[in-house]
Amino acid sequence: MQADDHAIMREVIDKTLAGCVSPEEEQSLREHLPACAQCQEYLNAGSRVIAGLGGFSFEVNPGLQAKVVASLKLRAEQLEAAQPSRRRMVWGCIAAVVLLVTGSAVAAQFGNLAAGSLHLQPNQVQRVLMAVWVLPSLCFALLFPLLPLLRNRKESVL
């Protein structure tokens, strides 16, 4: 047996222990091991290391769990209080949609009337109504349903 062969077999043993050996390599190791005391010893030493890692038993501070649970409860309450209620979100969304529809109707129906009384062009009045009424309410109407999605994305990025 060449020294290189042992080196190769040791790599296969490392792979076996790590759990990423191919079936062919596993087969070659199975054939090699019975005739090679050195590689058997290498495998046993690796297995002993893994078993040795299981021989550490760390002590956990007995008060830690209670401390963690208390801080979780407190934080959960804080988060709950900080979150706008679902009902408020729904009402906000409905109000924005109503404003949007009303604004559009006013812009469409009464633009000409308002233009006549104010001595302006109808499209000027419509533009003003769009800028100060329809567009802001459209933005708010879209913002409310999108707010939770934006918050989730921010949290996942962080």
């Binding site: 990423c20 299981g54 760390f58 769990q65 401390k67 649970v69 959960a76």
Partner: protein, 196 residues
């Protein structure tokens, strides 16, 4: 056997879905059960990562608070442990960076660095078997990148893919760290017999 595996997979999946649902709802009762179930494993992982006992309790607490705050990002499609360890790892590495910055600043100011803790290594204190006692000193000097993959693979029984996800590295890197970590500890156990 295939039937058994399927049952097991369905069981794991329904369990992780239940956890994901609870985390989305910020269910404190579920979190309490998770704390109880994973507390020791989290403490052990952080000790392997940091190589010392102090600060571990604070990091455990921070990890669970982060789980509560970011629970919505756990989708329940994979096991809970790798996700939990990933959170703990980010916090621990931030913590190590801060400690290093503070220590370097103290050095720049010409102030003496904080004295090394006189406490014995957590591995020496935790060694319960003859082999683990032999390994304890090496564990302390072994770089944390090797300690953590050994722990995740052999103590937590995570797959190589899961370990790779936790440490944010390719599977090949995880495998080579495992080989190197095992070789170092093997040499320690065998008194350098296999050193190449």
């Amino acid at each position: 056997m295939a039937e058994y595996d399927m049952t097991l997979a369905v069981g794991v999946s329904s369990d992780t879905q239940r956890i994901a649902r609870g985390l989305r709802q910020r269910d404190v009762t579920l979190l309490q059960a998770l704390v109880e179930q994973y507390q020791y494993r989290l403490v052990r992982y952080l000790i392997y990562l940091l190589g010392r006992r102090d600060d571990v309790d604070d990091l455990v607490q921070e990890t669970w608070l982060r789980v509560l705050e970011r629970g919505q990002s756990y989708d329940g499609r994979s096991r809970f442990e790798p996700w939990l360890f990933t959170i703990a790892r980010h916090l621990a590495i931030d913590h190590m960076r801060k400690r290093r910055t503070v220590s370097l600043e103290a050095e720049d100011d010409g102030e003496p660095q904080s004295p090394a803790s006189g406490d014995p290594s957590p591995f020496v204190l935790a060694a319960r078997t003859e082999d683990s006692q032999r390994l304890a000193q090496s564990m302390q000097t072994l770089d944390f990148i090797y300690r953590e993959v050994l722990m995740l693979r052999f103590q937590e029984d995570l797959s190589l893919q899961e370990v790779a996800a936790v440490i944010g590295a390719p599977v090949s890197t995880v495998a080579s760290r495992i080989y190197r970590g095992l070789r170092t500890l093997r040499e320690q156990l065998e008194g350098g017999k296999h050193a190449s």
